[in-house]
């Protein structure tokens, strides 16, 4: 993976995204590998998602997608999921079937994103964040989950699921003042042993929790009301690895379908939850590759409300669960940690 090639493709995308979105049937533009007859050619190019492919003869010249733009190839992909519902967006009420990528929320909270469908034995669950489905450790099993979430107008009639399970977020007891007290004590003990001391120092302040995931499950009212096909992306093909420089995509309640690139792995970070910080380890960080990129589909990968989105590579393998971010970075739990913490597998 050559970051320079991705930078070049991202810049070409940013130059052309508005013109491409004006063309008939085009619903998204990203970067990815060019596929030829189902085989990955290894060449990076622009991926143009359309509601449906039409023969060139049926399109006006202005609506044709050029096969090359500034030297990079384009690939037109049909996104079938939307065809019957193309007047609905991620913040709308979706019935009879709810697709991952749309608004959900705990009944008394705001709204986030239904990330993807997972299963435990024969049972299917909707995967999202603890802070989306369980109101940051406040929810109890059986509490109502609404689609759309309350911020998008969801009311009691919009209940689609109930809270089933979540991984508690551990804020520790001293999140701000001394997050590494225990670590320091360990280091001092090393020194003390080296000096021949038999006394062990103990951390006087409890270390705040070290979290790996912000994750929760909702149990749908019936398996028939949920799909595993992520809006604008389609069904996941499996679990993927988060490597540096890997292009990723997501569909979220607020920013819809967006694309970014993994820029950091193994990140230890402090994340703010309404004024209280929690420490996370082993996280994935994605960003856009150039500050010059902007626009609805090419700007930041995420905004408030996108929490809970599944993050996939361009071969539609799920790499993580989006849960936090700033104006320039998006923070993602590794999917293997999410699945193992909740004892579930992807529904693919």
């Amino acid at each position: 993976m050559d970051a320079q090639l991705i930078v070049q493709a991202m810049q070409i995308k940013s130059d052309y995204v508005d013109r491409l979105l004006d063309k008939r049937n085009v619903i998204g533009v990203g970067i990815g590998y060019k596929f030829s007859q189902g085989v990955n050619t290894g060449a990076l190019g622009l991926v143009v998602s359309v509601r449906r492919k039409e023969p060139s003869s049926a399109l006006s010249a202005a609506d044709m997608v050029p096969s090359r733009l500034d030297g990079v190839q384009t690939d037109v992909l049909e996104t079938g999921v939307l065809r019957a519902f193309d007047d609905l967006g991620p913040r709308d009420r979706w019935r009879p079937v709810v697709f991952p990528g749309v608004s959900v929320g705990y009944y008394s909270s705001t709204a986030g994103t239904f990330g993807c469908l997972v299963r435990r034995a024969d049972e299917f669950f909707m995967l999202s964040n603890n802070h989306v489905l369980a109101d940051v450790n406040q929810g109890r099993p059986g509490d109502a989950i609404l689609q759309p979430g309350p911020s998008d107008g969801g009311l009691a009639d919009d209940q689609i699921a109930t809270l089933a399970d979540y991984v508690p977020i551990d804020f520790g007891t001293e999140p701000a003042e001394c997050p590494f007290a225990e670590y320091s004590a360990k280091m001092l003990n090393v020194v003390a042993r080296a000096l021949g001391s038999k006394h062990q120092l103990r951390a006087t302040k409890q270390t705040p929790g070290r979290n790996l995931v912000d994750a929760a499950l909702a149990r749908p009212a019936s398996p028939d009301v949920v799909s595993n096909e992520i809006l604008y992306i389609g069904a996941p093909t499996g679990v993927g690895e988060a490597g540096l420089g890997v292009p990723v995509q997501k569909t979220g309640r607020t920013t819809g379908h967006t694309q970014g690139v993994i820029t950091q792995i193994d990140a230890t970070l402090r994340i703010d939850y309404n004024g209280t910080s929690a420490l996370f380890e082993g996280q994935i960080v994605a960003g856009v590759l150039s500050g010059a990129l902007s626009g609805a589909l090419s700007g930041a990968l995420s905004r408030p409300g996108d929490s809970g989105s599944a993050v996939l590579d361009m071969e539609k393998r799920v790499v993580g669960l989006l849960f936090a971010g700033s104006d320039v970075v998006t923070i993602i739990n590794p999917i293997d940690e999410v699945l193992s913490a909740l004892h579930v597998t992807l529904a693919i």
């Binding site: 970051a3 950091q264 500050g291 936090a324 700033s326």
Partner: protein, 84 residues
Amino acid sequence: MDRNLEKLRMVKAVHEAALMSKANVVSVAIGLRQRGGVFTSEPAIVVSVTHKIPRSELSPEDVIPNTLGGVPVDVQAVGEIQAL
């Protein structure tokens, strides 16, 4: 590349706690280095800060070194990171 990453992980593990305690630091990770505001394909220890401050205005204990254990350290400004 993999051996390089392994070395970065070891150096990160040793220095992470000290880096996290410096002013404005919100994250320590293995990441792609930026040059002139653009990402390169060079891996480094990436220290994310809410905002950058001139070295002259930082107290000595808050200065982030350019290298640690022989590996490059890149400081990147990310703003406040919040649950979304």
